[in-house]
Subunit: 677 residues, 2 copies
């Protein structure tokens, strides 16, 4: 019988704080799915009840062309920044859910999006999906001369340069904005290439607003367009023909000419596409309206979907995104939420009937998994060791800290049940943090709303949140720690636990100590942060070592795990620490489990550990794990820093399974007096 | 700022207990989705690589016939018992996800399934879905004469009598087993009716095993079939032609004749269908294999899906269900898990393009929701009041308690974070319980695995679990209480909270008190169960009043909410209770919030309350709620029962949102000395 969880008891120090704050989040959080989301391009656009190509309404759906079985479909998306990276994943999930064909995704990204998406797709290992990245920054000079008022900025305009940016042998591509959601198999869209005449090079859905009619308000002067114009959220591009036709020259000429009389593009690439089509109407193949149902505020989309029961792609092309005013928006939101919260692990399913080489590493993994014996008592441990979790690094916007030689990043991991520790932690630790969160896809969205509605959390750009998606019944504590550790960007890291609140001065104290003790100069040493806990749940956080000692004497505080596992922290020598005025040397001993500050390039945690925590339950686990012949957790020789720092203790829980919320009073370990080894 | 949660702290008494047990669940629980699941009919069946109708392989898919837009599609399912009711919901979710047409479901159910499904569909309010129920028990005599060895029992055979059981004007119907999962739009299946010749009456997919070839083992003697025979997990029935052709006589004759030489049906209705088709092969229209991909152990299904990338319906037709040995089973499981865990609320989306009258109540609800002002500070409260939660009563098998005049049901509600209280509760309360669980669809599956892997919980058939599906940010505490209360089947109910552990003797004591005090004879009185709590997390549960008093004197126990809200329990008069040898009268006072035993027909809780709990957080909520002009919780005049009963206290939490796991020591209120009013 192996306890597989970490108990969910919470540091008492945070109680009142949270009591006052949580309600606020909850209240505001409900509207989460209505938060404004950024997008790639084309927003507010022009109209279409009248059907230019006879493709609207229910009649607009031509008999479904059957796309060639197993044909590799090409898709291009421009994506920049943290928020668009999240959007693109929801789009990709919807696309993968319905697809039956192998896909090649061409992602034009800035450095941030590339870092996020490359990591994610690498861990995701979706069969029959190829990914190529293109550097958006290199493409910037080609479009940066165009003045643009659209919120997508330069990145929106980049769709114009795809014919030259994508590989020269790529003949056809579907181009998508990041704010579209599939409700159907993308192969049906691909099959519409077959309807192109010899001259047609661009497939587009007509605009579903009156924008380009130019009558939305006085002095509204849109770019020229054919009728209501076309929306560029979904584009079929014949790249081969565009290159042949001298596309680059064509769009640059048109844009230059229009900019003689117009101050800037309002809708980025879409204005330019429309101006070109106005001039050369034979270039466009109008697509059925259901392939780009536009949910902007003044949308006429209802004329499309009230006829067609068969919507294919939803386009959240209002700057208000899910908050857009539309009497049917709830229904569209449900489709969006389906994929927003969809467990991406389920998309790792094979593509039957289209044999493709498995993604890198996947075959080996499959073989190893197949060799596991389900009857083995350690089966779940072994399986967890083999599990490759999807990792979404910097899930929220993040600014790396400016390089400083003695800076320290607080490193910790948590699951949903510890979310409410984050605000207190931010108040106690003003420095950079790298936090790994073990969440389901649905929980990641809750987390997002939680941060967005928190004044404290949303003000911090130096806290990096890395989502590790849940799979399996064990809490992969060391894999989580390693993700957080690998993403720390300062020379030093404080390896903490989410339940511990540092002393208010700890961040400054540690940086001073690192400098003073010359840790950077090749000395192999670590700083130990003494840990304390409280068994009382009404607790006033000590603001000095003197206050802390008073609480200790009054029995309101204990040294961490004093009752359960004194050996874990015995070498810290709390008696000596009481009296110490300067750092002192601590001798490592078996079972020592201190909280330490070490250089960022310290050894990684053993990822084979799962379900392990610094607490009683974890200890049971540890014993058990050892009987499975897993090695014990790493330890280090150590030093102790000086000023009192307090943590509200316990241990991060979070199980796919029956959550291990267990009766436990608040702990409150805290780091104190330092010393050199 | 309104705290919207109930803290997750846990009764300390349960700590060690749970520590030892949880790991076991987690370990076993992982395999949950492999649990054997019952089914409607046709299991282990016969074969088909060779293609009788040229319908297998990728070529087997005829060009998709477009089903008439908005045509009402008819679907019949036989469903009996608690487990099949859960299965049918997963099937229906998959069907609704892809459907574009209005549906009419014809459910042939026993009393249990009808009770569950009628409640569920009533609350679900899915647009453009009609439900009709048919009493399976009335149909039994028509098939009970047939000896049958298949695990689906009599219910499997009922598919034979559908032509007479369904309304006489119903001409066509799709008949589904409960263990199929849709991966496509059911209208495409419906459209295959168009392929029927004038003589054909039954559409079936060929069997994907060698069962009917009769060579699986020595002396294997299957019923007669055409080649590998057909599988009846998915059937298209031309009811009109069947009635005309004298179907009832036809199948009865065939069955009777075969039973002269065969001892019983092995595969229920499927044997009989196949025997008829063997005799009258012109009756059958073979369907493409993708419409019934059979995942039994010796399946030849791979020959179907390795060709077709376009699977339509998966059939878990092995008694092993998801545990079936199949090298691609992970991929199929992912599809199944998608719908198992899919948030059913998202299926409430409108069916565009097919105007239908909204389900009963839905229109009124929509109007009320539309009138809410999102800017109103009480918006979430008001919205929660209007929210209709889906309710799945008796989610797990349940045997109603035998009628006894003084019996008491413990009534409580909880969310995921209190799951681990259930075992302790079962140990402390040997009587019937009615528990409402506030869960997401995914959590409901975790809960199922939790119970299935618990020896203690799975041994109890007198505990009824009612799942109320989550929606919105507030914990609808009184709606939950009302669901649990409404499903209590004994004359009396003990209105408890999940964090409280009753004294071991409380159940017996309460029944004796009810009898002794003649509560049944029209006396308007209630029994108060005094509540205690502990602030210590190491706690040995008292086994007598003397032990309890000793703990109280030692400060290990307090009267419940002694520190936070003494008025809530002051009238219980604990000082008097200490000395009392007999029940005494308690005078109700403002703010009195005792735990009481009352007749089952007591007034319901005010469902307008949300996020309210018996704890500090809840109290803040209550104050806040009152400022929103919601009335306070109900109270009652009361009496007190006698022997010590202990509860491990706190309050059930559970939020869609950032969970309110908050530092809180274990409480441990307990009910003691009774008295009469």
């Amino acid at each position: 019988m192996l306890p597989r969880g970490r108990p969910r008891a919470l540091g008492a120090a945070a109680l009142l704080l949270l009591l006052l704050v949580i309600g606020f989040f909850l209240f505001r959080g409900d509207l989460d799915y209505e938060r404004p989301r950024p997008r790639g391009t084309a927003a507010f656009d022009g109209d279409p009840p009248a059907d230019p190509g006879g493709h609207n309404g229910s009649d607009c759906i031509p008999p479904r062309p059957r796309p060639p079985k197993c044909e590799l479909l090409q898709v291009a998306i421009v994506c920049a920044g943290h928020n668009s990276s999240r959007d693109v994943i929801t789009l990709v999930k919807s696309m993968l859910f319905y697809r039956k064909n192998p896909l090649h995704l061409h992602l034009v990204t800035d450095a941030v999006a590339r870092n996020i998406l490359e990591t994610l797709f690498h861990m995701w290992m979706v069969p029959a999906v190829q990914i190529s990245f293109y550097n958006a920054d290199e493409l910037k000079p080609q479009v940066s001369w165009i003045p643009n008022k659209h919120y997508s900025g330069l990145y929106g305009l980049m769709k114009l340069v795809l014919p030259s940016a994508l590989p020269p042998d790529l003949a056809r591509v579907i181009v998508l904005d990041t704010d579209v959601t599939f409700a159907s198999n993308i192969a049906e869209l691909w099959a519409l290439f077959a309807h192109f005449s010899d001259k047609q090079v661009i497939g587009l859905v007509e605009n579903q607003s009156d924008w380009y009619l130019g009558n939305l308000w006085r002095n509204h002067r849109p770019w020229p367009a054919l009728g209501r114009g076309f929306n560029t959220g979904v584009i079929l591009l014949r790249l081969d023909r565009l290159r042949q036709a001298g596309w680059e020259q064509m769009w640059k000429l048109t844009a230059t000419r229009e900019l003689l009389t117009l101050p800037a593009t309002s809708l980025a690439d879409q204005d330019i596409f429309n101006a070109i089509i106005k001039e050369h109407p034979w270039l466009v193949q109008p697509l059925p309206c259901v392939w780009n149902v536009q949910l902007s505020d003044h949308t006429l989309a209802e004329r499309c979907y009230s006829e067609a029961s068969d919507l294919k792609v939803i386009h959240w092309n209002s700057p208000k995104k899910l908050r857009v005013k539309n009497k049917h928006v709830e229904s569209f939101r449900n489709l969006y939420l389906t994929f927003l919260e969809y467990d991406g692990n389920l998309l790792r399913r094979e593509l039957f009937g289209c044999p493709r080489p498995p993604p890198p590493g996947a075959e080996q993994l499959q073989r190893a998994l197949a060799q596991l014996d389900e009857e083995d008592a350690c089966f779940e441990f072994r399986r967890q060791q083999l599990t490759v979790h999807r990792v979404h690094i910097t899930f929220l916007p993040h600014k790396p800290p400016p390089p400083q030689p003695h800076d320290v990043t607080l490193v910790a991991q948590l699951s949903m049940d510890r979310m409410q520790m984050l605000e207190a932690l931010c108040r106690h630790w003003p420095g950079p943090m790298s936090l790994a969160l073990y969440l389901t896809d649905a929980e990641a969205q809750q987390f997002l709303r939680f941060v967005e509605t928190s004044v404290v959390l949303s003000a911090r750009q130096d806290v990096a949140y890395h989502v590790v998606y849940r799979e399996g019944p064990l809490y992969p504590i060391n894999q989580l720690r390693n993700v957080a550790l690998a993403q720390a960007l300062t020379p030093y890291v404080f390896l903490s636990d989410i339940d511990f609140l540092p002393a208010y001065s700890l961040y400054d104290y540690l940086r001073a100590s690192i400098q003073q003790l010359e840790l950077g100069s090749g000395r192999k040493a670590a700083l130990v942060v003494p840990a304390f806990e409280t068994l009382h749940y009404r607790f006033s956080f000590p603001s000095s070592k003197a206050e802390l000692l008073a609480l200790l004497d009054a029995g309101s505080l204990h040294t961490f795990r004093y009752h359960e596992w004194p050996r874990g922290h015995a070498p810290t020598d709390y008696a000596r620490w009481r009296e110490a005025q300067a750092p002192y040397h601590v001798q490592w001993a078996a079972d020592y489990e201190p909280y330490v500050v070490v250089p960022r390039d310290c050894p990684r945690y053993d990822p084979r550990f799962a379900g392990f925590g610094w607490n009683k339950v974890a200890h049971v686990m540890e014993l058990d794990a050892q009987s499975c012949h897993l090695p014990p957790a790493q330890a280090a020789t150590v030093r102790v820093p000086h000023p009192p720092g307090i943590r509200a203790a316990g241990a991060a829980g979070g199980l796919r399974h029956p959550p291990a919320a267990r009766p436990k009073p608040g702990h409150l370990p805290l780091p104190l007096q330092p010393h050199l080894s």
